[in-house]
Amino acid sequence: MTPAEIAALPARTLASLVRDGSLRAIEVLAAFEAQADATEPFVHAYLLRARDSAAAAAEAVDAARAAGRPLGLLAGVPVGLKDLFVTEGIETRAGSKILEGWIPPYEGTHAARLRAAGAVITGKLAMDEFAMGSSSESTPYVAPRNPWHPDYVPGGSSGGSAAAVAAGSVAAALGSDTGGSVRQPASFCGVVGLKPSYGRVSRHGMIAFASSLDQAGPITRDVRDAALLLQVLAGADPLDSTCVDAPVPDYLAACERGAAGLRVGVHRAALEHDGLDPEVAVAFERALAVLKDAGAALVDVDLPHARHAVAAYYVLCAAEAASNLARYDGIRYGARVDRPTLRETYEATREAGFSAEVKRRILLGTFVLRKDSYALYYGQAQKVRRLIADDYARAFERCELVACPTSPMPGFRAGEKLHDPLAMYLADVFTIGANLAGLAAISVPAGLSAAGIERPALPIGVQLFAPALHEPTLLAAAAAHEDVTTHHRLRPPMTAVATGGHPA
């Protein structure tokens, strides 16, 4: 196999070839590194490439095989991590200057479980600073770009993760989803993004943005690879009290169940959203038709409070962010700007360390938590959150899944919304319900927009939601959709040039 052929294989195939000795982990790593070398100059998916530790990890997998030791589910699979996953010995900064130079002295649960399964961690992927953003442009570093067109954003906040998977420079990546940050970039980049239900995957070692909403999730080329990564990541963690202690089902097996007999709910009123791009609407209807053909029934559901979701979400996530980011004071770790007094040191450190979007949310969050505004904002937002969760609970009495577009529009042009925070926030309208209600959700490729004068051909994604812990149902329907479509096999043309073509 040529390096290009190797780099085009799904993660599960790579792992199985490494396990049976057909491929060496070091060869697999070399193939993906070559792909990264070719695409990084215009994709900028990586904040940090951990070449040495990746090589050492690949060699360890090969040595383990040579010694006859059993290999894990991700043996030799190159995986990139969003920069907010704590990796022992590898700089971790959540995309922020304020953590620059921080080499964690401990391993987060995600990195630990991935490594234990034989994954080779290739480096840290670009993101909106502290995961606050929907375009990955809120960064003091070079912003990643969409492999489908370098003038376009890869989405955010896990933009680097989605871009790396789409560019073929990793076999899979890990992102975090607080309000859609796994699913929206996955849809922008034409890959699969899975947000497990809240508590399904540990948050220990995932630098917090909004604790009650944050959930780690895989970004992969197809649904079965997402199932494979979830298999490795899911399960109780004694270091996270909010992690659910429920049995971990066989997610790969669930992918073979098909969609027959499933009822898929559609909230029609949501599709009247002002900013909904007609091409997204078309792609969505096409995906529904595919599910119907696969034996699913479509039912109408009502989510009466959905229209308040964005407002409630931005109050809650800002409050939690202001609290979670209070620890970055320059005293114990990370960057510090020394000034004569403590207060000035705090101010100078945080002024220099955080960029505009992060400061905006800290200010907003601090405001809503004030004693005299708490009930009006935070308390009210919590009530809305409960109502939205109740809406979904009622909807799920009538169906197993709810479907909707992932984003109102395909990827937008870099800089287009950078100075219009409200427009940026509204890009999350379809994704945040899953976070507010703690649901499982997945975004899968649903086709490309037509190439024209206005914009190039860009991927479009559709989402499915399932009740908490119903990932198997979610994966069954997503895999059934994927089995009769080819959207997920499309690769960005520019990356294909880099590898000299790919099969499929």
Binding site: V86, A208, Y333
Partner: protein, 488 residues
């Protein structure tokens, strides 16, 4: 109005550091005397990505105290974040309980104090909750920097908040002593004010005597000994009464106590206090206390101080001794072992609190390091009670017991009495012989006695005791002497 027209109203907020192995929300060990920043882990330092995991033992301790105080335990309670920026607070917030504490209500009966109707004084509690401690900042005099020690950061604390229902500085100190006794009896804290495992802030206000309204309150922070607690509250009452009698208003403030000048000093007025921006702690699910868990803890509770004291007093032990003995669970345990070995209660407590504690205190030792086992002391007390040995002999035997060098074999008091000739002579014939000898040897004194100088009886008893080298039963000596003197 004059000073005597005012009465103080005091409420105490007490922090008690729990004697757990690990911290409130991580497996990091807790300790008191470790070198700076050696009892830390990723969570304690607030490293990114770390999460709190509640310490079940700390919760257990909290439940035990709530049960002992008769508080209402809430099956669901919640942790909250309290925000402020300070270098000793690693996360920029403290995890505590705010509007949903695990226990509310209950109360503490303060020994030695009475309520308005003469009933035993009971100070009602507002709440008990769990929280984590902050670290410690040290300001280096003259240096441009401060030092921070995170060893204490994250240590488990119980906060006990009383109602404003304490009527004097002395009562406040007694309340604190009773609380200390209780947590020590329950084994949940060393509760030592000097070492900081028991800390107290006092809210003090004054009002016209008999008024039902509360005055403007001021809070005295960081009272770290029983002495300063009482002195500081008394000083603050003086300050407030002084202001009011001069017709000046009291401004709500946070104060510190200056022991040098015996005065409270305003640190900041309340208008300037921070808004802590409380929010529910999203990293922790609601704390769930199952009824079965409560019952299990209730079943395992040791006898509470009030019950122990009542039992001891009923057996004849002085009230003050009972308070002292209950205050130190190891002391109470020592007494209970003496009683179990058959020692009469009053004498046992006297020997324990006067002789043994006297020696131990002089040597700077605790009851745990006593060289005398409670069973041995009990045996000695029994021998004394049955006149097997005299008081002076008992003290000598005790000296031998206490002074035993650790390599020496353990001898019981009876063996020592035998060996050293302390067994008291209660043989009437032998005593009579000795008395007759003394009377014969002191004819002048005998004559004077019979002439009315009855004071000389003591001298004659002393002579008999001297002749018997202190071994004669003094009571019998007295009886025999009186009989022979009367016989003429």
């Amino acid at each position: 109005m004059t000073a005597s027209d005012y009465e103080p109203v005091i409420g105490l907020e007490t922090h008690c550091q729990l004697a757990t192995e690990s911290k409130m929300f991580s497996a990091c060990p807790v300790g008191l005397l470790a070198p700076p920043n050696t009892l830390v882990d990723a969570y304690t330092l607030g490293l990114p990505g770390t999460l709190p995991v509640p310490n079940a033992r700390a919760v257990r301790f909290g439940i035990a105290l709530a049960l002992a105080c008769g508080s209402t335990l809430h099956e669901h309670s919640r942790f909250a974040r309290k925000h402020y920026f300070y270098p000793d607070l690693p996360k920029g917030y403290q995890i505590t309980q705010s509007d949903e504490p695990f226990a509310t209500g209950g109360g503490l009966v303060v020994p030695g104090f009475q309520g308005a109707a003469g009933e035993p004084k009971r100070v009602p509690l507002v709440r008990i909750h769990l929280e984590e401690d902050a670290g410690k900042n040290t300001h280096v005099p003259g240096a441009a920097h401060s030092l921070v020690d995170y060893d204490r950061a994250g240590a488990p604390l119980l906060e006990i908040v009383s109602e404003p229902a304490i009527g004097s500085a002395e009562e406040a100190a007694a309340y604190m002593r009773e609380l200390r006794t209780l947590v020590r009896t329950l084994g949940l804290s060393s509760a030592n004010m000097e070492e900081g495992t028991l800390r107290c802030d006092a809210n003090v206000s004054v009002r016209p005597r008999g008024s039902a309204m509360l005055g403007v309150r001021c809070e005295i922070k960081n009272l770290n000994s029983f002495r300063f607690l009482a002195l500081a509250i008394a000083a603050e009452i003086r300050r407030q009464v002084d202001l009011l009698t001069r017709g000046e208003p009291i401004v709500s403030a946070t104060l510190s106590y200056d022991p040098e000048r015996d005065r409270t000093r305003v640190m900041r007025t309340k208008e300037a206090t921070a808004d802590y921006r409380y929010m529910p702690e999203p990293d922790l699910p609601p704390l769930r206390i199952e009824p079965a868990w409560i019952e299990e803890i209730r079943a395992a509770m040791p006898p509470l101080p009030a019950a122990r004291r009542a039992a001891w007093v009923a057996q004849g032990i002085a009230e003050d001794d009972a308070v002292l003995l209950a205050g130190e669970p190891a002391l109470g345990g020592y007494l209970d072992r003496m009683l179990a070995a058959g020692a009469p209660a009053r004498r046992a407590s006297n020997w324990l609190t006067v002789e043994l504690l006297g020696k131990l205190n002089a040597d700077g030792r605790g009851i745990e390091q006593s060289p005398v086992e409670p069973e041995a002391l009990a045996e000695l007390v029994v021998m004394l009670e049955s006149s097997e040995v005299s008081g002076p002999s008992a003290k000598q035997i005790f000296g031998v017991l206490y002074g035993r060098v650790s390599e020496e074999p353990v001898l019981g008091p009876r063996t020592i009495a035998e060996r050293d000739g302390h067994r008291q002579v209660s043989d009437v014939a032998a005593i009579e012989a000795a008395v007759r000898e003394v009377l014969a040897a002191n004819p002048e004194q005998v004559a004077s006695f019979r002439a009315g100088k009855t004071k000389l009886r003591g001298f004659l008893v002393g002579q008999v005791m001297k002749a018997t080298r202190g071994r004669a039963n003094p009571q019998l000596v007295g009886e025999v002497l009186d009989r022979l003197l009367a016989e003429g």
